[in-house]
Symmetry: C2
Subunit: 493 residues, 2 copies
């Protein structure tokens, strides 16, 4: 493999035993993304002098304190992000898990140059009032072609947080309607007037139940369900909504089966307690298939089936937040396909890798009883819906969901070996059988992420101590080898 | 003028006296948008058979109950929206006031085809973490080139509601920081833990003060400040935040000067009362320069100066919501330029005609004391920022702000004449000297809007009885004449 790399490029000192069969992998890799750099190349510290200068300029007008690194997207390609100083990094963070098929993907470039895209960019409609004649077709050949089983309708939105808030609103209106006696019962004069004062009975005293360490967004409704980190929540008004215990599983799973089963049973009991006793009864429960921002916390399919059963039992809506887990990264198109649910979720929210956003639903009654109750000016963006259709085409063309399942297994096995070789450095390895949606805890996580840049890899963290791997769907065993080598270098530094 | 129209096109039966000087106007019109239809053309009822079929198809997967009309954007041009049945309507609603320079504007089409646009569409960054090397330049040549006086920084967002919520968050963090004793005072252990329970002291007990009949968006925070209509608010949890009286001016203004001055003084007194006594003290006051969704309610520059003075006096932030009023429609680039404020607003929010969104600010201290407090994955969209730059180029090239001021005066004078001719049909005419941002009350508003379609004009409403005119910036006296004729036909129907 080394021979395909340009001279002067980053060359890991040691090659692992995982590189058997590389020539075959190289071929498959080449077919996935032609013309990608053959490996990382680090020329300067990061940020280098050019980046530092640009960040300084930018900071005059735009807060740059969260800048991780500056990027030159005209030069980035496939799995590789390039910075203005010419540094080339293997990117397994991928814009906080939101780049699906690689930088400057040719299929997407084609979609972006289509007449349809240009038209949708310059003639953005108010979708609820003035949809285009072909909006149904754009939805059916794109967003709805990958709708989760049982959910055949969509409300489109602009970003994940927006999608979740709109799903919450659908849940509140549905439950209030139910309590009122059905969609045909008219609002009372008192409801009509009190809601204008943000007061009961017109406003709602219902809630959304979420889990400890969950992340569902940072707008005021979603932030009230986000329980990941204080820095997200400090000084912001929040609703008095319930948070249930999330089962914190112990690893390796096979050594803690009974403890973990008990943790999940306890968590479900906590959910049931809150549903039945919390002063503001939940209209819905929202859950991530894998808590991402909160630290890559997993639970078993049995837990999620139990959760689905509880919501059915107590007639509470079940919202699955697939903003980060959706679009193939777990080796299924939707992560909740791993669960074998007895009935579909009521709503599934999506964004990030979809490059658009919204919620899927199946029950027609989740459309509120009158128009304009769920409404806003843009209600999404056809341009981004067209881009998602291009992404879906690319995922199908390259069979990227199955590919990611396989590459994930390969990567997981590699990290398992590293964990055995370097005890304590790759703790609580998780994500087995979950595609490339893999994480582990590092004793010096922040230092780990910083060192990763010096060896040519861009990696993100989650929670307090997790290293979260979020490669793109075009990540291959070739890249897994580079990542594994880099991680070995890091822990030896 | 009739000669420039294609045979068979819609021909108003009567021409008004306003059409003097038409040949000159036709020339200026032609230079604004070449190839635009010469007038409306109505072939079927709306929706016609093709539209009805398409709406039926769409409704299977997407709620269509708020559909006003279906559009074929590939055929729409300039000020004219075209539907699948071939109906051509003069559009003075313009996607709820969000199309600035016409359908299929060639300058925007060029921007949409640029390499920069394609790159930004297919490589969407997480802007807070991985901005592009040229993000500062995109901001400076676009969004910031039209920044309101005194505000030289921006936080970018995806839509108006999102922009307002982010501005609220900035206000809450700023005020909490101030109360805490400055940006260097660390959070207490109790704050860090209580915020995770959505509880004080970590969460905030502060509020945002808005006005009766205001509209600031429909997410949970913004909806708590929106007080336009019950249909927006029913069954949704809301924060206990204060709403102040908005002065309801009487028209014509010159006949009610002292009454109106008293209404404004009373409203300001109400604001001061709420700032000083409301149990949840306001961190900020948010106001629209002209309440749009709530019924096109205006107030005088003196009122807004008074409001600015009150916020300074009580050290409350002053947020001006220019989502609907911004980008030239009032004959100034920003509507608050009409006010001659003693000091700039603390934040100005924007979206709609900008086709992107965000809030401008000037005080560096409005950046929270730590990174990641104001943050989300995308934090806006460079593709849409590039489009806004194209819009700004077009506005400057055609001098569209001044143009809109002039066309607005012409249109206003025409409606004044109609109001004199048809007493009671064009009540409370408002928006004099405010560009084309004109409205009046109609005794049968909903019927008025419906009839408008039959005479080839797409018009929107606001509040209970207002007809709100929201032409694009390329609307010219030529179009004003067509609109005036159409409105005369409507009231004679």
């Amino acid at each position: 493999m080394a021979s395909v790399r340009a001279a002067g490029r980053f060359q890991p000192a040691a090659r692992t035993a995982l590189q058997a069969g590389i020539s075959q992998q190289t071929r498959s890799y080449a077919s996935l993304f032609a013309g990608e750099p053959s490996g990382p190349e680090i020329k300067t510290q990061i940020p280098g002098p050019k980046s530092q200068q640009a960040i300084k300029e930018l900071d005059k007008v735009f807060d740059t304190r969260a800048v991780n690194m500056l990027a030159d997207y005209t030069k980035s390609k496939g799995n590789y992000i390039v910075d203005p100083d010419g540094n080339v990094l293997l990117d397994v963070y991928a814009q906080i898990a939101s780049i699906p098929v690689g930088y400057n993907n040719p299929t997407l470039a084609k979609a972006a140059q289509s007449l349809e895209m240009i038209n949708s960019l310059i003639n953005r409609p108010a979708l609820g009032n003035f949809p285009s004649h072909d909006w149904a077709q754009i939805l059916e050949t794109g967003i709805l072609s990958v709708a989760p089983k049982g959910l055949d309708q969509v409300f489109t939105a602009t970003a994940g947080s927006d999608a979740n808030e709109c799903a919450f609103k659908a849940a509140f209106m549905y439950k209030a309607q139910q309590r009122r006696g059905g969609p045909d019962v008219e609002f009372t004069a008192e409801e009509l007037s009190s809601c204008m004062n943000n007061a009961l009975p017109g406003a709602s005293n219902l809630s959304i139940l979420s889990f400890k360490s969950a992340f569902h967004g940072r707008l005021f409704g979603t932030l009230s369900t986000t329980r990941s980190k204080p820095i997200h929540k400090l000084d912001i008004p929040a609703f008095d909504w319930p948070q249930a215990t999330f089962p914190l599983l112990k690893y390796p799973l096979e050594e803690h089966a009974s403890e973990n089963a008990k943790a999940e049973a306890d968590a479900l009991a906590d959910v049931e307690r809150l549903i039945t006793t919390f002063p503001h009864p939940p209209a819905a429960v929202i859950v991530e298939p894998i808590q991402s921002e909160g630290g890559d916390n997993h639970a078993s399919p049995a837990f999620f089936r139990g959760l689905r059963e509880l919501t059915v039992k107590h007639d509470v809506l079940f919202i699955v937040d697939e903003v980060q887990t959706g679009i193939g990264a777990t080796g299924k198109f939707w992560a909740h396909e791993h669960w074998d649910l007895p009935s579909p979720p009521d709503m599934v929210t999506f964004s990030k890798k979809a490059q658009t956003a919204g919620y899927y639903y199946g029950n027609h009654a989740l459309r509120p009883n009158k128009p304009y109750r769920q409404f806003n000016t843009w209600m999404g963006d056809p341009a981004r819906a067209i881009l998602f259709r291009g992404i879906i085409d690319e995922v199908n063309r390259l069979n990227l969901v199955e590919h990611t399942a396989k590459t994930g297994d390969y990567l997981y096995a590699g990290i398992e070996k590293l964990a055995a070789k370097y005890p304590g450095q790759f703790k609580n390895l998780r994500g087995k059988g979950q595609g490339t949606f893999i994480a582990f805890d590092s004793p010096q996580r922040d230092a780990f992420l910083k060192k990763a840049k010096t060896v040519g890899v861009n990696i993100g963290g989650s929670g307090e101590s997790a290293v979260r791997l979020r490669p793109m769907l075009i990540f291959d065993t070739e890249h897994a080898d580079i990542l594994l080598e880099a991680m070995e270098k890091i822990v030896k530094m």
